[in-house]
């Protein structure tokens, strides 16, 4: 093998109470796509933050083209041609797409005036290359998460970097965008660009990566050509043991109707009607921007409905706020954990119990700390959340672990209807299975679940029935047995099916 273009060697990084990286060596080869794999909290993002100058390592060295270098700020790393797409979105919501893409590198004329025409036309081109049809003058705050992610990717591309780090770029993307991203990655590789690719979707690794580095608990486990690896092998190295079947379906008695939606409409969704039965998992598929999140939020009372009814146990419910929804036993877990799901500066405990603190209230309005900690402790264990303690601020958790906290926060309310919006975003294979098990458990207890997901295998693997949306309307509903990837996709682009 050739000498690596960039090498990180003997990297160690410790946070209070956590040794995130322990003597890691990581190589980036010219013109190759490098997969970096590991469970949630293995230290992937931390390693990449050191590579991009956000953190400094406690020990270890960086070599670029054989020469040792040091990064003190993100700018240092940018200057030698490293671009990074962080796992967590880092956009300025109040600025436009174009302004975000070129932030810090705006083209200016002789009078220091920003050349808006160039800025927006260059942005337009980048978006086009990624197959995104959005006006670059649009504000980022008006984009869905997936669209924001595409802006991040465009931003990284605009740097014309030699090395591009992508920390779970497809985590919020549907198949369509993922496909355009992969085409771009292939182009970049052909141009001699090196890419570090982090993902928990192992199928993707085999599709575009050349090399893979596997980490566990902050330690290097293995580096190899992807061709010499298999999914099972990778999982085994990541998790440290074998894993059984990915989507362990349980068949439950699907009985009476738990929730019925009739003719629900507002500015985002149109005339939505469906039923959800006890013990059923209803998967909702669709492309980005199809209105799935809006539908969920409308049912949950977070977006006002203009027309329509929500019927539970045969009775019409007035749901005007999330509070009403929770009182009726409907819980919603947001797709955007950072902005809408969690309060980053609060602890795991405070986040998890927030939606249902009342159950812990004792005399004199006092929160029964013992009771609270017992329940939280059991969820941390049940969901294997990796943290030194339940008092850790959520901000300091790895992305996947944050996602688990967000889901636990919904589960703790003991809902009868659980709406999960992209529940496994950023979650590793092992933990995914834990989440699926939990959902199945939930279902087995006679509860109902709606899963909104952009990962078709997940939808197909978990759901009893599948509903497809396009442009705010339902364009198809399938029973599990009749659903196929092709049929779903057809409906997703708007072709009706009987």
């Amino acid at each position: 093998m050739t000498r690596p273009l960039f090498q990180m060697s003997g990297i160690t990084k410790e946070f209070p109470g956590v040794k995130a990286l322990d003597n890691i060596t990581f190589n980036i080869y010219e013109g190759k796509v490098m997969a970096l794999l590991g469970e949630n909290g293995a230290g992937k993002s931390t390693l990449m933050k050191i590579l991009s100058g956000v953190y400094q390592a406690d020990a270890g060295e960086l070599f670029f083209d054989g020469k040792q270098i040091k990064f003190r700020t993100p700018k240092d790393s940018q200057d030698i041609g490293i671009a990074i797409i962080h796992q967590e979105l880092n956009l300025i919501p109040q600025l436009s797409i174009g302004e975000n893409i070129f932030l810090g590198r705006e083209p200016v004329n002789a009078f220091k005036k920003i050349d808006w025409r160039k800025l927006f036309s260059d942005s337009q081109q980048l978006l086009k290359r990624l197959g995104v049809e959005k006006d670059p003058k649009m504000l980022v705050s008006d984009l869905s998460i997936g669209e924001q992610q595409m802006v991040e990717i465009a931003k990284a591309l605009s740097l014309n970097a030699k090395i591009i780090i992508m920390d779970e770029p497809t985590d919020a993307l549907t198949d369509k965008e993922t496909l355009s991203l992969f085409n771009v990655i292939k182009e970049l590789r052909n141009d001699g660009c090196s890419i570090v690719y982090i993902s928990h979707r192992l199928k993707e690794i085999f599709e575009i990566c050349d090399m893979a580095t596997i980490m566990r608990d902050g330690k290097l486990i293995h580096e190899d050509k992807v061709d010499c690896l298999s999914e099972e092998l990778i999982i085994e190295m990541m998790v440290g043991r074998k894993l059984e079947e990915q989507f362990p379906r349980v068949n439950t008695e699907i009985s009476e109707v738990a929730l019925e939606i009739r003719n629900l409409s507002n500015q985002y969704v149109e005339d939505i009607s469906f039923v959800l039965r006890k013990g059923e998992i209803l998967g909702i598929a669709g492309l980005m921007g199809s209105g799935r999140t809006e539908l969920a939020k409308t049912i949950y009372g977070a977006i006002p409905a203009e027309k329509g009814e929500v019927i539970m146990n045969g009775q019409k419910c007035r749901i005007l706020s999330p509070k009403d929804a929770l009182n009726h036993g409907i819980a919603y877990v947001s797709e955007d954990r950072k902005a809408q799901g969690l309060i980053l500066d609060l602890s795991i405990k405070e986040n998890m119990s927030l939606s249902d603190l009342k159950q812990f209230e004792g005399i004199f309005f006092r929160i029964d700390r013992q009771k609270e900690e017992n329940v939280i402790g059991s969820y941390i264990k049940k969901m294997s959340i990796r943290t030194p303690s339940m008092h850790q601020t959520v901000k300091k958790l790895s992305g996947g672990n944050q996602q688990k906290v967000s889901i636990a926060k919904g589960l703790i309310t003991n809902p009868t209807i659980l709406i999960l919006d992209e529940p496994t975003r950023g979650v590793d294979v092992g933990a995914k299975k834990e989440i699926y098990d939990l959902v199945n458990q939930f279902k087995a207890d006679g509860m109902s679940v709606m899963i909104i997901s952009s990962e078709l295998p997940e939808i197909l693997g978990m759901s009893d029935r599948i509903m497809v949306m396009c442009n705010g309307k339902i364009t198809g509903t399938f029973d599990r047995k009749e659903a196929t990837q092709e049929r779903i996709l057809k409906c997703a682009v708007g072709m009706k099916e009987a």
Binding site: P16, P322, L342, I343, L346, E350, L354, F365, R366, I367
Partner: protein, 311 residues
């Protein structure tokens, strides 16, 4: 390990406070006398009480400029009721009620009107100051002798077991605030709201109600401070409390609470208020000339906050 560093960081401002106390007491022997310590605590009680309410507001990411005006208005109403022969207890209750209602209304404007807290409380501040001036006709309402005036005077001037009553009141305010913020649901919601309003809403919490409550608490405490001042002076001043909002906010922020909300503590506010109170006392005791007082005060606050900054 981690806990130790964090704890130390937390107490740095306390260390600064102690250090500062030692320096002053070396410069002036009277400073650490028992009577002066009580004096400082009593003087600090007004700002401390207001700052306690302000802590609730700031933790939600808001701000309350109306405290000084509420203080004056509540004081004026209380004094005029007592002067007109009402029982002090009822007068005090009414004054406290005014604080709650005015604060709560401001909260409603912020919530329903979607008005930025700065503007909403600026409006309350301006309108209520005008109302106080109209009500008092710009002149102090002074309490004569009389039994009920005497009784009322106890609030600000009385002692219990050798310790001034205002100190007990302050203590109760802080213990209650600590309890609410640390041990109850409301407290959690206050922090959550300041941390991420959107996520708090989606957690099924009625954010509007929390907003109304925190401004009502701030109004209540401001009215309480107004009652104490009025009782101490046996007179309600129409321009009482002007500029007090700055002192209260300074105490909260000096205590490490972030103006953007979600982060901070009521204990920090105690320390912040004490730093300001001790500073004022020390500058008087050391007879620093009034022009230089400002320079010294600014410098000391800067040092205190630099000592306390997060890495």
């Amino acid at each position: 390990m981690k806990i130790n560093i964090e704890k130390l960081l937390k107490f740095k401002s306390v260390i600064g406070l102690l250090f500062f106390t030692v320096v002053i007491s070396l410069l002036s022997p009277q400073f650490l006398s028992f009577s002066n310590i009580l004096n400082v605590f009593r003087q600090t009680s007004i700002n401390s009480i207001i700052a306690a309410g302000m802590t609730f507001v700031i933790l939600t990411g808001g701000i309350d400029l109306s405290v000084g005006s509420i203080l004056a208005f509540a004081g004026a109403v209380c004094a005029s009721l007592i002067a007109s022969g009402m029982s002090p207890l009822i007068a005090v209750m009414i004054a406290l009620g005014i604080g709650i209602v005015v604060g709560g209304l401001t909260g409603v404007i912020i919530n329903k009107g979607k008005v930025q807290p700065f503007i909403a409380t600026l409006v309350t501040m301006t309108v209520l100051r005008g109302a106080t001036l109209v009500f008092t006709d710009g002149k102090p309402i002074t309490l004569g002798g009389g039994g009920s005036a005497e009784k009322f005077s106890t609030i600000g001037n009385g002692y219990f077991l050798g310790i001034p009553i205002p100190i007990y009141i302050t203590l109760i305010v802080f213990v209650a605030s600590y309890y609410i913020l640390r041990q109850t649901r409301l407290g959690r919601y206050v922090y959550a709201l300041g941390g991420n309003e959107e996520a708090t809403k989606l957690s099924g919490i009625s954010v509007g109600k929390i907003k109304v409550i925190v401004y009502a608490i701030s109004g209540l405490f401001a009215a309480l401070a107004g009652i104490i001042i009025t009782s101490r002076l046996a007179s309600a001043q129409p321009n009482a409390g002007s500029g007090y909002e700055l002192d209260a906010i300074a105490a909260v922020v000096l205590g490490g609470t972030s103006l953007s909300g979600g982060f901070g503590s009521i204990l920090g506010t105690v320390v912040g208020a004490l730093i300001i109170g001790i500073l004022n006392n020390a500058l008087n005791i050391l007879n620093v000339s009034s022009y230089f007082q400002m320079i010294v005060k600014g410098a000391v606050i800067l040092v205190a906050v630099l000592l306390d900054r997060k890495k």
